[in-house]
Symmetry: C2
Subunit: 138 residues, 2 copies
DNA sequence: TTATTAATTTGTAACGATTACAAAGTTATA
DNA sequence: TATAACTTTGTAATCGTTACAAATTAATAA
């Protein structure tokens, strides 16, 4: 079992008290929590914690690829400590975000279940386009 | 060529001046524009247009499945009049959103190009989870 | 037509997630 | 121990979006 501290070190993030607490929380709560959920849940055990720290820390984790930032929810960014490839399904009624295995090949196949009623599928990627990539390299 | 007005009628949206203008704009500008871009571009030719109308109208279009709302950009919602299945790629430097053909099968294959530098892939879907679906049906 | 009702648009104000920023605190290094 | 670098914190500002009620326009009934 990989500890939060080790996970941070591997991703070149210096482990502070706050960073370890936030990473630990993410590793123990695979519920794709929002900043606010993380902040509110950690506050009782870490009363000096600042909301800004949670924002900063998750931004840092994200930049170092120690966590995944999900834009599935247009209201808030959600965070996922599991960085192995998998898909997500969000219920727009209860807001719950589910993990979806990516072992199927076709997207159509992937979502044809009797349980979930899929109303929208988005396959999105972010990175650098050819022009910006060239500019970056010069 | 399908007109904006016809596209609205097909999707059971009553065609008003504003609605036609916004749909026309989306059909002619496949650049996945934000609300603000649409508003600013239409203002010169429609000086009485309100930003709220653009929000309301796109929300309505989206609900009627006349357009697709993309959450690829965490800063703003982007809109796409093309509702046939395709993927998107956003450059996080210039903000440009590209269409990606969905003819390839594997997600890995899909993004292994020499041109685009892919740093993040998200396969997201939204709908109703089993519990909420059951609740909805009762 | 005219009156009445429903639908649509508009502008302002409020909301809420996120970011900017500078001060305070902590850790590393000379 | 002193200095510099890093991290955390709290407040204020920003900005996309939403709430809401008034004004306008369109549809329908009398």
């Amino acid at each position: 079992m990989e500890t939060a501290k080790k996970h941070l070190t591997i991703h070149h993030v210096r482990p502070s008290m706050q960073r370890i607490a936030i990473m630990k929380y993410l590793m123990e709560h695979c519920t794709h929590p929002t900043v606010d959920t993380i902040y509110n849940d950690l506050l009782p055990v870490m009363p000096t914690l600042s909301r800004t720290t949670v924002y900063n820390t998750l931004e840092l984790f994200s930049a170092k690829h120690a966590v995944q930032a999900l834009t599935i929810d247009k209201r808030n960014v959600r965070y996922d400590a599991c960085t192995t490839p998998h898909a997500h399904f969000m219920c727009h009624k209860c807001g719950h975000v589910f993990d979806v295995e990516l072992d199927a090949i076709s997207i159509e196949l992937l979502y044809n279940t009797d349980e979930f009623l899929v109303e929208k599928v988005e396959l999105n990627s972010v990175g650098l386009c050819p022009d910006c990539r060239e500019e970056e390299e010069n």
